[in-house]
Amino acid sequence: MKMFVCIKYVPDTSEAEVKVNPDGVTVDSSRFSFDINDADNYAVEESVLIKEAKEGDVTVVSIGPKKSDVMIRMAMAKGCDQAVRIEDDRIAGHDPLMVAKALAAAIKGQEFDLVLTGCMASDDGHMSTGVALAEELGVNHASMVKKVEVLDGKVRAHRELEGGLLEVVELELPAVLTIQTGINEPRYAPIRGIRQAQKKELKVVSLDDLGVDPASVGSDASMVVLEELYIPEVESSAEFIEGEAEEKAEKLASILVKGGLV
């Protein structure tokens, strides 16, 4: 089983205050902590589980800065075999189609059975990169996968649909699967494993190295223009009603009536 797993280095915005930079289209990330995108972490684990069950080889592919190497080394400590990190500022990172083209360039021309990636990035939440990647590679895909069964020349994917439905599909390999969180329990990458993973190959490449025309994945090629980022204004407020139960009920009823809601 020859696999690729595509991962993204993302900021954790749950703790630090999000501030938009003066340019209006980027965010001040100086106070954020960064880590592997949550769903991608499950994709890494799934690739390693498949490798452990069926034997095989997993290559990590990521677009990101040098400081994301720690994330890649952690994936290799867990069992991935080698990695390619694309470092090139010319990629229009806000457009999933451009990102997919760059990722596809790192995979194309090599044999593979499966490409796994998270179903969504926690920073931009597009949920499109994996599907676009399948299109770029010209292979089948299934998104929001909660369970994977590898069969002979095929894969059975259990997809999570809206309304709590589960869809089971079979895909001819090669295929791209976008992995939903909760499919497994990602393991810990012990530091000794990370140190051993230093011996594994981590190739850093540019668009030129991949033979990609920068113009084809840059802002000019993108049909998405990021015009403005802003923090939504608070348009309503919350009121805590104090008092005994009866008192609270009366006050609540009065608010609802006054507001014309009942």
Binding site: E15, D35, Y188
Partner: protein
């Protein structure tokens, strides 16, 4: 016998054990968990049993309080056998998600609380804090602790001491965001590799500052630096030791009075692991108006609050009464108004127990520095 087994046996000196049972006889968690540390010391000798032993849930019940080590007549540390078994699990990667996330956070952000390194000094906001500079000699270099730096409940420990230091004219400095976890809980969770890395990196970082003493606010950092960092140049002390010096020099000026009964709970990492018993008591009894009482189990016999040994990230399966609840009930029986502690973990566990017992109206859990913040001029 394989090399690995010899290593385990040699590493923990298993053949030194005479199976006297003083370890299990003193282990505080035996009242609520199936942990039998003597059995582990015995069984770990057999190489073929190690994997099976490592999979037993009770290896995670140990709070690393060190009672077993204090009581061992052979000077062994039975608890470290459990930590060695935890290491086997950690290195397999198959750990509880809470443990995984805490350890990963230490590696990536320098703290186990999944907080950004950039926010480490946020506790200083609005305060006039002297920041250490490499190579500039300083008498007292402070080490805040991840929990005190990030947890809003215990931040006041650091904030209060700054005011007191400025007032007393002590030569001191704090580290900036470069301060990184001491690894106390990393060690007890069994992540040996990460702990070795922290010892190496922190020794290099701290030795860059020409400090005479490293003053730790948490007993966990204090004991870890004192006992597990062989190449650290500075002498390591706990802040209560520094404050007693200031008290003796007449540099602490009391204000107001506290007409309350206080019982002091000895934190395991300050008391039985580092023999600091008197300084916290000296500070407390000097607060005007205070009446001190003692737990029946105090000093080296102090009951563990179950906050150490990585237990902040591992939930016990036992549904029996928590030791912290036992402790609070004991305090209640002594009619104590305040349970004073000198450890951020003890604050969190004991306060939680006090609330779950419904005593919050009549009792208070306070870190010594919280009380001094209220009763010493700053």
């Amino acid at each position: 016998m394989s090399t690995e087994s010899q290593t385990f046996t040699e590493k923990y000196d298993l053949l030194g054990c005479i199976q006297c049972g003083r370890c299990t006889g003193g282990c505080p968690v035996t009242v609520r968990a199936d942990l039998n540390v003597r059995r582990f010391v015995y069984d770990a000798y057999y190489e073929e049993k190690l994997d099976e032993l490592a999979r037993l849930a009770e290896i995670w019940d140990c709070t690393a309080c060190h009672t077993c080590a204090v009581r061992c007549p052979k000077g062994l540390k039975p608890l470290e056998v459990l930590l060695g078994l935890r290491t086997m699990i950690i290195e397999s990667g198959k750990v509880e998600p809470t443990v995984r996330d805490a350890l990963q956070s230490v590696l990536l952000e320098g703290n186990p609380w999944e907080k950004s390194r950039a926010a480490r000094s946020d506790w200083m906001e609005g305060l006039d804090v002297k920041i250490a500079e490499p190579g500039v000699p300083v008498e007292n270099l402070f080490f805040v602790c991840c929990t005190i730096a990030y947890d809003p409940r215990v931040k006041s420990i650091a904030r209060n001491i700054v005011g007191l230091l400025n007032k007393s004219g002590v030569d001191y400095a704090f580290l900036d965001e470069s301060e990184t976890c001491c690894g106390s809980e990393v060690f007890t969770l069994g992540e040996e590799g990460l702990f070795e890395m922290l010892v190496e990196d922190n020794t290099e970082l701290l030795n860059e500052y020409t400090a005479k003493r490293l003053v730790c606010l948490s007993p966990h950092c204090f004991t870890t630096y004192k006992t597990r960092y062989p190449d650290l140049k500075a002498e390591v002390i706990h802040y209560t030791q520094l404050l007693v010096e200031l008290l003796e020099e007449g540099k602490l000026n009391w204000k107001g009075d506290l007409q309350k009964t206080i019982v002091y709970h000895d934190p395991c990492y300050l008391g039985k692991q580092s023999n600091v018993y008197d300084e916290p008591r000296t500070l407390l009894k000097n607060i005007p108006g205070v009446k001190m009482v003692e737990f029946e189990r105090s000093r080296e016999r102090s009951l563990c609050c179950e906050g150490g040994g990585g237990k902040m990230w591992v939930e016990s399966e036992s549904k029996k009464e928590r030791l912290a609840e036992t402790r609070i009930k004991d305090a209640k029986a002594l009619e104590a108004d305040i349970v004073a502690v000198a450890c951020p973990f003890c604050v969190l566990t004991l306060e939680d127990a006090m609330k779950s017992l419904g005593y919050e109206e009549e009792m208070r859990v306070a870190e010594i520095m919280e009380l001094l913040g209220e009763f010493v001029e700053a």
